[in-house]
Amino acid sequence: MRKLLFGLVTWVGAVTAAHMALNVNWSVIMNDRLPLDKRKLNVAYIPVT
């Protein structure tokens, strides 16, 4: 039982870490936490010229 729980926690932890590394845009999150006058502008674009 303990082994199973350990395996489950490790798996969830690994998937969470991979998700946070690959899918979370940290520059956006960190930028949004800055004071308004220090924030970089968010600039929208679409993949077309």
Binding site: S27, V28, K40, L41, N42, A44, Y45, T49
Partner: protein, 297 residues
């Protein structure tokens, strides 16, 4: 591109780029202040301003780079053959729609005889291949996508009917212009330097090939070979200089918008543009950056 190169410079990343898949979503994000600036088609920016949305056009994204594409083995051989056929455009408020009216006028054809439908840019090449539409009028790299895949043929490039054609422009919220003009200037300077880098004399083609690689992989999520095609076949297919907003270009767009029923009143150039940032960027030089380098100046 500016984001990628500037990250190697002393100033670091100049802004936070956010990928969208359609212009209506960009419009909403800009109006709700989720985005402080955006690249969007020029008529949409003008229409927003005309509707009282506090935004201004401060710079261009590029010149040219739009084309009307038909099926290679299809029945459309000339512009006149488009009568009664379905043509996709990115938005009612787009230069890609206006170019159809301009070409129709030059060919002595009533543009209303074309069945124009709005379609998200990433969907048009697939729709043409499947026969859901007969043609599309769109910005790069979608004309290149249809050409590269072998099922599309460029009927005409925008420059054929519209010298100095512009499509995407940089729009900034008015409150940001008023309270953070230095941030806007930094953004415009960076874009100006990127444009000059892509048009940098004998390094022009090498720079475009490198840009196609990193923009395709990290920003557009598209095959770099596709962007390489769009940026180099031919080399002036899309141009990145001059990017300052010019009165005569925009007055033509406003006139065409009025004539084609997407703008209900005249609007002056000063109301929807702020040229001070373009003027501030006029002395810029190209980025000093080459492929494989880990510094940019």
């Amino acid at each position: 591109m500016t984001d990628y190169i500037s990250a190697y410079s002393q100033s670091g990343q100049l802004f936070v780029p956010r990928l969208f898949q359609g212009f209506p979503e960009i419009k909403e994000a800009l109006m709700s202040n989720k985005m402080q600036a955006a690249f969007m088609v020029a008529p949409m920016a003008i229409a927003l301003r005309a509707q009282g949305v506090p935004v201004k056009i401060v710079y261009l994204g590029h010149r040219y780079g739009s084309a009307v594409v038909v099926r290679k083995d299809g029945p459309v051989k000339t512009f006149a053959d488009l009568r009664g056929r379905t043509v996709a455009v990115p938005s009612r408020f787009s230069d890609e729609r206006l170019i159809l009216f301009k070409a129709a006028h030059d060919n002595g054809i009533d543009a209303w005889a074309l069945h124009m439908v709005e379609m998200a840019p990433p969907d048009v090449a697939g729709a043409l291949a499947a026969g859901a539409i007969d043609a599309f009028s769109m910005g790069e790299p979608f004309p290149s996508q249809a050409e590269m895949a072998g099922f599309g043929r460029v009927l005409f490039h925008a420059r054929q009917y519209w010298p100095d054609y512009i499509s995407c422009v940089l729009v900034v919220r008015q409150d940001v212009i008023e309270h953070r003009p230095e941030a806007v200037q930094m953004l415009v300077d960076g874009i100006a330097r990127s444009g000059l880098w892509l048009e940098d004399g004998t390094r022009r083609e090498a720079h475009r090939v490198h840009a196609a690689d990193f923009v395709g992989r990290y920003y557009y999520r598209q095959n770099p070979a596709l962007l390489r095609w769009a940026l180099t076949k031919p080399i002036d297919r899309v141009m990145y200089e001059p990017l300052s907003p010019r009165r005569r270009d925009f007055e033509l767009i406003v006139r065409l918008m009025r004539e084609t029923g997407v703008l209900d009143h005249d609007i002056s150039f000063e109301e929807y543009t702020d040229t001070r940032f373009a003027e501030g960027a006029s002395g810029m030089t190209p980025w000093k950056y080459e492929a494989g380098s880990n510094t940019a100046q």
